[in-house]
């Protein structure tokens, strides 16, 4: 009887730790947002930037310092929030892919979805060809190609039998194929086109606008609650196809649905940002090391870790060589890789 009380308390403790982790991350994120908004050529304090944010939300109640209002709302806040939302989405997509494929290397980048987006963008830049005209050419191409990649993975997996191996191999094959196409386009492109392609591939949140932020937020708001709702199925799939089937999960159908949802999230983000490779890989790992593998908490926590990482990386990219802005994709790799290796080498269960 005493033993059972100890076990109950142990599980309750586990859950409390997770709630605390998520709470802590939320607070950290709010602080980071405040700091990130102050960064830039016009200087004001963190307090002033919060007041400016609140003044926009509740006009009349708060009065922002002159100019801060405009700078915050028109120039900075959507970029900062875009970094938050993009980091959140990429991390969730990575979590889901690692979960269903049971492979620590699975991420939107390693499965060829980001490379496909880059190829779509390159075709638009170099050949000027695409599905729609005008300013949305590059974005639409990137979006459609990343969906094309996931359809191709789906098709190959369908033909060969859905399993984590077939999906990973199909994804890696596609990644190389799309990289080769992008290289070819860079080879035949002019110097300016080459520069544009390379710059697109660095990955940046500099192209954010309020409507784009709204669109990405809408997609996340529709998909992530569904993923959290099906967290038990993700937990079961992470244990293996056979285990999941034995626990009553319709394995093939679920894997396909999860793959499509994760691809959609990735596509809607990378078409605006270019390839930001690292967040989708590391954020789930960091979170899993910290709070374990229950997707009920892993998904939101990992999203928050991704959001904090991407926002921090973008803030550093904006300030380290100011007024030069480093693309966030470069910063995430420079900061994230050593951090990740450190965590990996020092974790206890390695």
């Amino acid at each position: 009887m005493e033993k059972s009380i100890v076990l109950r308390e142990g599980y309750a403790h586990l859950r409390k730790t997770r709630t605390a982790f998520i709470g802590g991350l939320l607070i950290l994120l709010v602080i980071l947002i405040g700091i990130a908004v102050t960064l830039g050529s016009a200087e004001f304090t963190v307090a002033e930037s919060y007041i400016a944010i609140l003044a926009g939300l509740f006009p009349g109640t708060f009065i922002a310092p002159e100019m801060a209002d405009i700078i915050v709302w028109d120039y900075r806040l959507h970029r900062v929030l875009f970094a938050v939302v993009a980091g959140f989405g990429l991390a969730v997509a990575g979590t889901v892919m690692q979960g269903i494929l049971r492979n620590p290397l699975a991420s939107p980048f390693t499965l060829g979805i980001s490379s496909a987006a880059a190829t779509g963008a390159s075709i638009a830049i170099v050949l000027g060809a695409g599905f729609v005209d005008g300013e949305y050419l590059i974005i639409a191409n990137a979006f459609l190609f990343s969906l094309l990649a996931s359809v191709a993975i789906y098709g190959m997996a369908r033909y060969r039998g859905v399993s984590s191996e077939t999906m990973i191999l199909a994804g890696i094959a596609l990644m190389y194929l799309f990289s080769a196409v992008t290289s070819l386009l860079q080879y035949i492109g002019t110097a300016e086109e080459l520069q544009a392609v390379v710059f697109w591939m660095f990955g940046s949140v500099g192209k954010s606008t309020w409507p784009r932020l709204g669109l990405v937020t809408l997609v996340l708001a529709c998909t992530i609650p569904y993923l959290i709702y099906r967290a038990w199925d993700l937990n079961a799939l992470a244990e293996g196809d056979e285990v999941a089937a034995g626990l009553g999960v319709p394995v093939e159908r679920s894997m396909m649905v999860f793959m499509v949802v994760a691809s959609l999230i990735t596509a809607v983000i990378v078409c605006f940002t270019g390839t930001i490779g690292f967040i989708g890989l590391v954020a789930p790992h960091i979170t899993r090391m910290a709070i374990g593998g229950d997707h009920r908490t892993l998904i939101p926590a990992s999203g928050l870790v991704g959001a904090a990482l991407l926002l921090a990386a973008d803030s550093i990219g904006r300030s380290i060589l100011a007024p030069q802005i480093l693309p966030v994709g470069i910063v995430t790799a420079f900061l994230g890789v050593p951090f990740f290796i450190y965590l990996f080498m020092h974790r206890r269960d390695a």
Binding site: S4, L7, R102, A238, G246, G248, D349
Partner: protein
């Protein structure tokens, strides 16, 4: 009526037939050992019985219901499956891994009753001390017990196990079989267990099913099934079967060829 009843089951991978015309019954409280040489179709049979593979012919009746017409979640409430590979390298704790066995019943939250069942299963398998360790850190034997505990909290009438003892030392093999025997008796479970070790099977199983080339060679009490003739025909070995012990005991002498010499 038998709890689990397999009727004339046949299965093929593409054009390669693996099982043909397999029929058998398993009663509640009974442990059936599934034995046979490598590649005889043991794992395929277990997967067909669980409904993971769709048989080409025949059907599986589970407590009077046709498994092919049941929803996966319903099947998971009637029949648990412990696969051959013992666990993945996930970051989950033992407690949570066992809790996953409640998935066929869970909505989203975990109720105190679910926790209670997990605790009971951990206690039965002597895992309380490991409850908050990560499964990836455990030894093969401990991990195997976690998988069995998970199958138990599914609270099914039928439990299928695919070589649960293959990575274990002799003491842990016996410990696992002891637990299964006790549970079969106490909870009236029907247990089907694929085993390589004939002597272990003879000691703990009520009936043995010998699978050879995709069909049943023999199905009955260990002393009826484990014969010199069977070992020669099915395994291609010369062996002596000692019948004067509590359970028949197979002593292998030498492999192959002897048949021709008479």
């Amino acid at each position: 009526m038998a709890l689990l009843s397999v009727e004339d089951l046949s299965f093929a991978y593409r054009n390669h037939p693996v099982l043909s015309g397999v029929s058998f019954d398993v009663d509640a409280g009974e442990i059936v050992g599934l034995v046979g040489p490598n590649g005889c179709g043991k794992t395929t049979l277990i997967k067909c019985v669980d409904g993971m593979l769709r048989p080409m012919e025949g059907r599986v009746m589970l407590a009077g219901q046709d498994l092919g017409k049941m929803h996966r979640r319903e099947v998971a409430r009637e029949m648990a499956y412990v696969p051959q590979s013992a666990g993945n390298q996930t970051a989950s704790t033992v407690f949570e891994t066992v809790l996953m066995g409640r998935r066929p019943y869970l909505n989203w939250t975990v109720s105190p009753e679910d926790e209670e069942r997990v605790i009971t299963a951990l206690d039965l398998l002597g895992l309380e001390g490991l409850a908050f360790r990560k499964v990836a850190e455990l030894s093969g034997g401990e991990r195997q017990r976690v998988m069995i505990a998970r199958a138990l909290v599914q609270e099914t009438g039928v439990v299928l196990l695919d070589e649960p003892t293959s990575n274990l030392d002799i003491r842990h093999q016996m410990a696992v079989m002891e637990v299964l025997s006790r549970l079969a008796e106490e909870r009236d479970l029907a247990v089907v267990i694929a085993l390589h070790d004939l002597n272990l099977a003879a000691t703990y199983c009520h009936r043995l099913m010998v699978l050879a080339g995709g069909s049943i060679y023999g199905y009955g009490a260990p002393e009826e099934v484990l014969t010199q003739e069977m070992l020669g025909n099915v395994y291609g070995i010369e062996a002596v079967v000692k019948q004067d012990l509590p359970a028949p005991y197979v002593v292998p002498v030498r492999p192959g060829q002897l048949q021709e010499e008479g």
